[in-house]
């Protein structure tokens, strides 16, 4: 087999038509639809909150309204998360070149990591304060009866459900932190690669 020249390699490369046009067109349609929906995400969030709050004020609590409230909460969180990702993507795309893009991605990853770390640090004290507040409410604010209030609070299954939810949130944050650390590490490596390549381009290395 003869050693192919660069022209041969280019022909070989350009011949690699991956996938078929119909599938690509379908992807393009889906991306366009998703892009359009995301553009209205802010508006949808306002509608969702207003639409959820108004019946909440008027209707008495019952299993249906509680289920609706949970659904509303999940939808709000999902929408907020999607808006954040969308904005982050839009902001980093505005950079002119890949090296600058990596720089801004590093800055975003660092900011996200700081946010997750702060949330993790604050979760403990906030949960402890909330528990003490609940117990104090039961003991009518008396310091002497606070341990009794705490014991009462702990004996309720609802408290354990609440604590389980908090534990799940903490686990989710720990997972996010691990991922963000990995991403940050890879981005830092990439930044070094670009710097090295830039030095070589200039003939320094």
């Amino acid at each position: 087999m003869r050693e192919p020249g660069f022209e041969d390699l280019a022909n070989l490369w350009q011949d690699a038509e991956v996938g078929d046009r119909a599938a690509f067109e379908a992807l393009a349609r889906r991306a366009r639809l998703k892009g359009r929906l995301l553009a209205y995400a802010d508006f949808a969030l306002v509608l969702l909150l207003a639409g959820g709050l108004l019946p909440g004020i008027v209707l008495a609590p019952n299993p249906m309204t509680i289920a609706a409230a949970v659904l509303l909460l999940v939808a709000t969180l999902w929408l907020s998360w999607t808006r954040r990702r969308y904005r982050q993507m839009a902001a980093t795309l505005n950079t002119s070149d890949p090296a600058a893009f990596v720089e801004s991605s590093v800055a975003y990853a660092r900011a996200n990591l700081r946010r997750v770390n702060l949330s993790l640090i604050l979760t403990g004290p906030l949960v402890a304060t909330a528990i003490v507040f609940k117990a104090a409410k039961r003991s009518r604010g008396g310091l002497e009866t606070l341990p009794q209030g705490l014991l009462e609070w702990v004996s309720e299954p609802r408290s354990w459900i609440g604590l389980a939810v908090v534990a799940l949130v903490v686990l989710f944050m720990l997972r996010s932190r691990r991922r963000l650390r990995g991403e940050l590490g890879r981005l830092e490596e990439l930044r070094l690669d670009y710097e090295r390549e830039k030095r070589r381009d200039a003939g320094i290395e």
Partner: protein, 169 residues
């Protein structure tokens, strides 16, 4: 938007004229077909999002390549674990050729793609653009470096690609 045509028209233009380009850029970063499929979708969404910033200073192809490269970098940096070594499928097969020629060509193509995937990202970007037939000027726009720097980077990438291909064969 400072260019002629609506966002819809521009997007239609990108998706009709840059299918091969976008798919091959994604291929140079992701070997796993389902993940590559997601990556292509992500690139298309990013192009849609970035279209209002397109001023028409560069060609649509240059614009699409620039966005695609950036999304691929994000994809690689967000990857939770090291990429699996996936055997590239025979979907890479090209025009009607004799079975032996076709098999040889597919083998060479697979060899080339796997070697490109091993290059460091800054060189991979340069070599992919080179193979796609972009001029040094266009590549300079996409990579944000001078045309001279593009030339030296391409030389380095070509020589690295050859040595990887040599080692693998």
């Amino acid at each position: 938007m400072a260019v002629n045509g609506s966002k819809e028209q521009l997007f239609a233009q990108v998706s009709s004229s840059c299918m091969g380009l976008i798919s091959r850029i994604a291929l140079s970063y992701e070997a796993d077909p389902p993940l590559r499929h997601e990556l292509v979708q992500d690139i298309l969404l990013a192009i849609w999002v970035a279209l209002p910033n397109y001023r028409g200073e560069a060609s649509v192809k240059t614009f699409a390549a620039s966005i695609a490269q950036k999304r691929c970098i994000s994809h690689v940096s967000k990857r939770a674990r090291e990429p699996r070594q996936v055997e590239l499928s025979t979907e890479l097969a090209s025009a009607a050729e004799l079975p032996d020629e076709l098999a040889l060509r597919n083998d060479q193509q697979r060899h080339l793609i796997e070697s490109i995937q091993q290059l460091p990202i800054p060189q991979r970007e340069a070599i992919v653009l080179c193979l796609e037939g972009f001029s040094y000027g266009e590549m300079a726009t996409i990579l944000g470096i001078s045309p001279n720097a593009v030339m030296t980077r391409c030389q380095r990438a070509k020589s690295n690609l050859r040595s990887i291909m040599g080692r693998r064969s």
